[in-house]
Subunit: 169 residues, 2 copies
């Protein structure tokens, strides 16, 4: 594995653990490279965040593409939203974007595009754009709620509740 990849992996893990992407020094140390080494691969903090986000978006794209073939995009979306690890990562990224002034315009745009892509996949499955938007937003809400660790309704009951409103009738 290249050092660049190792840095990305480590940063991802630290972000999940800490709830936000830690300092560049911390990421460098944990990755086993010097600060200069990190800066060689990522010219700024924004570039690092960008890299982590790109990785996360790609992973979600792949998971949903596989779900399309299985015909359970909605379930996969909600299941991943409930996943501790993924939720933590997405929340950490959101925090890092919002908080620092290091948000790239390009990153925001790519993030918005990914969101639209995923919502379209859901819409293709449930056949109703409003339902698709609601399901996507429901997932985002689930992600955000893991901050306080609230009890969530089990996935099955949510899908059951969703049922009469989805599926091409």
């Amino acid at each position: 594995m290249s050092n660049r990849e190792r840095i990305l992996q480590t940063a991802r893990r630290l972000a999940i653990e800490a709830g936000s992407v830690p300092s560049l020094g911390a990421v460098a140390t944990a990755s086993g490279v010097s600060k200069g080494g990190l800066m060689h691969h990522f010219r700024s903090r924004a570039a690092l965040l960008d890299g982590i986000a790109a990785q996360a978006i790609e992973a979600m794209d792949e998971a949903l593409a596989a779900a399309v073939e299985r015909g359970n995009v909605t379930e996969t979306w909600l299941r991943l939203s409930m996943s501790r690890e993924d939720a933590d990562l997405y929340r950490a990224l959101l925090v890092s974007f919002t908080d620092s002034g290091s948000t790239t315009e390009a990153l925001l745009r790519r993030s918005a595009e990914a969101t639209q892509r995923w919502e379209r996949l859901i819409a293709d499955e449930v056949g109703d754009p409003v339902a698709a938007a609601a399901i996507r937003l429901l997932g985002d809400g689930i992600v955000m709620n893991s901050v306080t660790g609230d009890r969530l309704p089990p996935l099955e009951s949510v899908l059951e509740w969703l049922k009469p409103r989805t599926g091409r009738n």
Copy 2:
């Protein structure tokens, strides 16, 4: 208005504008008090966050209490979630909680309690705990989505979509 109140108001406004609660110095300056003056009223950054959150929670409690009498808790919940100002404030608070190490245990608990309170109000109205949870999470998702400024489906269509799944049948 007391200086304490003025600080709280200013901090709230800055948080909405900035997407996170700014530094104590910035809040102090914008409030027209010195750093020491701010520290006199709020002994730590955590205390300030706590104060802002308490204010926000109280405002939401009042809005929902009024909605109960009007019988439109669900609509009010979603409408406030879509409100630019409220969404920005809640997101800023969430960011500040997650990011810094200054999250109070008490604050997290009070926040979780408020969440439960609101979800119960929704459940009372729609008569289905799963639907209530979904509606609450939907609102949270809407709040989080205003980061990227995605287009949201209009409130009316969401309520329309919700209709067959709510109301005591």
